[in-house]
């Protein structure tokens, strides 16, 4: 059931995008999220869309797989598009069906917002699909390092994040197992009236919480007996390396920002 979900999933590979340093990927994606809001006309939005498609192509992740995995997001997208079409009443009327009028501005806004949304979702998905969770947290830890001066426990935060990410698949497996065990006992999550379905969540959540707490305790004990004492003086096994690809990536970001600033209205 959750096999098709691609949020937070990592597909190993050795494409250009895979080989980028997590730091440059993170910087790129965060900057990209901001830069997207610069676009405000057809040319700039087309540029964003084309660039995103290029990145997907370069990551060698099948577009079909990506779209299939992001189905829930796409439903949301269609919904926002429709809202815009229905409720924006500016500009000329393009066509009308009885009460229902489509305005030029509504269509424009709808399309633009949809592209913005799509581009953001695709880009962030590409980030998590091409970067292992461990490298993402390594990257974040290094990028946040300056905040140590403000007494922010950067190492601990990064550790928390990597533990959380590490246990997502484990918890998913666990959920699947418990769900099956309860289904075998006649509990049904996917049929019946809403009230019954909500009730059927309890037999799922209680065992899940019990095992998650137990697991957390075991992990804490295991870390303690191996002498874990936080980030102080800790060396790294995985070294991050900045190479020409990352410089290229940053250059592309700069060029794109300039183009967007230049061509926006």
């Amino acid at each position: 059931m959750m096999e098709k979900m691609i949020f937070g999933r990592f597909i190993p590979g050795n494409s250009f995008v895979h080989l980028l340093d997590p730091r440059s990927k993170l910087v790129f994606v965060f900057a990209f999220i901001l830069v997207v809001f610069l676009a405000n006309n057809i040319f700039t939005y087309a540029l964003l869309l084309a660039f995103t498609l290029l990145v997907i192509l370069m990551s060698r992740i099948r577009l079909y797989f990506l779209i299939n995995g992001l189905k829930p997001v796409i439903i949301l997208l269609v919904f926002t598009f429709l809202i815009h079409i229905l409720f924006t009443r500016e500009g000329d009327v393009l066509f009308e069906l009885g009460f229902f009028k489509v305005y030029e501005e509504g269509l424009r806004q709808g399309v633009f917002i949809s592209i913005r949304f799509l581009v953001l979702v695709f880009m962030t998905s590409i980030l998590t699909l091409t970067t292992s969770p461990i490298s993402i947290t390594d990257g974040i830890e290094v990028l946040l390092n300056p905040l140590k001066k403000l007494k922010l426990p950067v190492h601990e935060l990064a550790l928390m994040m990597s533990i959380a990410l590490r246990f997502i698949p484990t918890l998913m497996d666990e959920t699947d197992k418990i769900m099956k065990a309860q289904m075998a006992r006649g509990s049904d999550l996917s049929a019946g009236p809403i009230k019954e379905r909500v009730k059927a969540v309890v037999p799922l959540l209680v065992p899940l919480f019990v095992s998650a707490f137990k697991r957390a305790e075991d992990l804490a004990t295991a870390m303690e007996v191996r002498g874990y004492r936080g980030g102080e003086g800790r060396t790294r096994y995985r070294q991050l390396k900045w190479d020409w690809r990352d410089t290229v990536c940053m250059a592309i970001l700069a060029v794109m920002t300039v183009l967007l600033v230049f061509y926006r209205n």
């Binding site: 096999e3 098709k4 597909i11 099948r62 797989f65 299939n68 995995g69 666990e174 197992k177 418990i178 099956k180 065990a181 309860q182 289904m183 075998a184 006992r185 006649g186 509990s187 049904d188 309890v202 037999p203 209680v206 065992p207 019990v210 095992s211």
Partner: protein, 290 residues
């Protein structure tokens, strides 16, 4: 209720880059009332196959017959609930499925889902708690206050309370102490004999398969490669070796004795008692042994 798998293949994550076949063209028939063991090395597809027995997984190819219901690959299967009542599954580490405030409520959860009345469900719980070897006052305790072994027994009672015709056991004794293992296995065997429960035991313990099963199917890398009576299966050590399985201790012990006695016994013995009797017979003390 017969269970029949015909040319069943199953792939996890169909249609994604993670697609992976776990079963290939499996044919298994389990007639009503038999004790069937399914053995295989880790990753042989044992756990995948057992989820087909009550429609938790639908075959990617082929079909599964459960009694008169047929689940065909690619077709929507509706109303699986009646099947799930008739085929009870005790999963690996079933104690993880406990969730209610009291043991009593947890045992009643299954039967109540299948529309059994409150009184009836409670009566079943009172009967079953004794059957699984726990005192009756356990019923009012929280399942989370029990020991691991006791929780296991409560979970088993919870599955038996559904009053299934077929019971599927996935490594039911994993992690229990030897005495607990024997008690649980003997209890399932007694239920199999007394109530005529069709029993499917998925295990990698050759000893349990030898002692209890009428029939043994061997899985290897997603295929069912051998199927037959225990004596047949365990007469061929070389084939077993090929599938990375060993003979049961008792059969290996028999081979050693045969070497010492310099003669082979007429049949392969599946339990200690059987071997003792055979050896006694061979040594010419047959009358006393019997």
């Amino acid at each position: 209720m017969d269970i029949k798998l015909q040319q069943v293949s199953y792939a996890y994550s169909m249609g994604t880059p993670f697609e992976k076949y776990a079963l290939y063209d499996v044919d298994v028939t389990i007639p009503h009332g038999t004790y069937q063991a399914i053995i295989g090395h880790t990753g042989s597809g044992k756990s995948t196959i057992l989820q087909h027995f009550n429609g938790l997984l639908k075959p990617s190819k082929g079909q599964v017959h459960i009694g008169d219901r047929v689940i065909v690959a690619g077709k929507k299967a509706k109303e699986l609930k009646p099947i799930r009542q008739k085929v009870g599954i005790v999963f690996q580490f079933p104690e993880h499925q406990l969730f209610e405030e009291t043991v009593l409520k947890d045992i009643m959860f299954g039967p109540m889902n299948f529309g059994v009345s409150q009184q009836e469900a409670e009566a079943r719980a009172r009967e079953l708690i004794k059957l699984v070897g726990l005192p009756e006052d356990t019923l009012n305790k929280s399942p989370f206050d029990l020991s691991g072994g006791q929780m296991r027994r409560v979970a088993i009672a919870g599955v038996l309370a559904m009053d299934p015709e077929v019971i599927v056991l996935d490594e039911p004794t994993a992690g229990l102490d030897p005495r607990g293992q024997k008690e649980i296995m003997d209890m399932f065997y007694a239920l199999h004999k007394e109530r005529g429960l069709t029993t499917i035991l998925v295990t990698h313990s050759m000893e349990d398969a030898a002692r209890y099963a009428d029939n043994i199917a061997i899985m290897h890398e997603g295929r069912s490669v051998l199927n037959g009576a225990p004596r047949e299966i365990f007469s061929d050590a070389e084939t077993l070796e090929k599938y990375r399985l060993e003979l049961p201790h008792i059969v290996r012990f028999q081979r050693k004795i045969e070497k010492l006695m310099n003669q082979s016994l007429p049949k392969i013995c599946l339990t200690e008692e059987e071997l003792a009797a055979e050896v006694a017979l061979a040594l010419g003390e047959g009358r006393d042994a019997k």
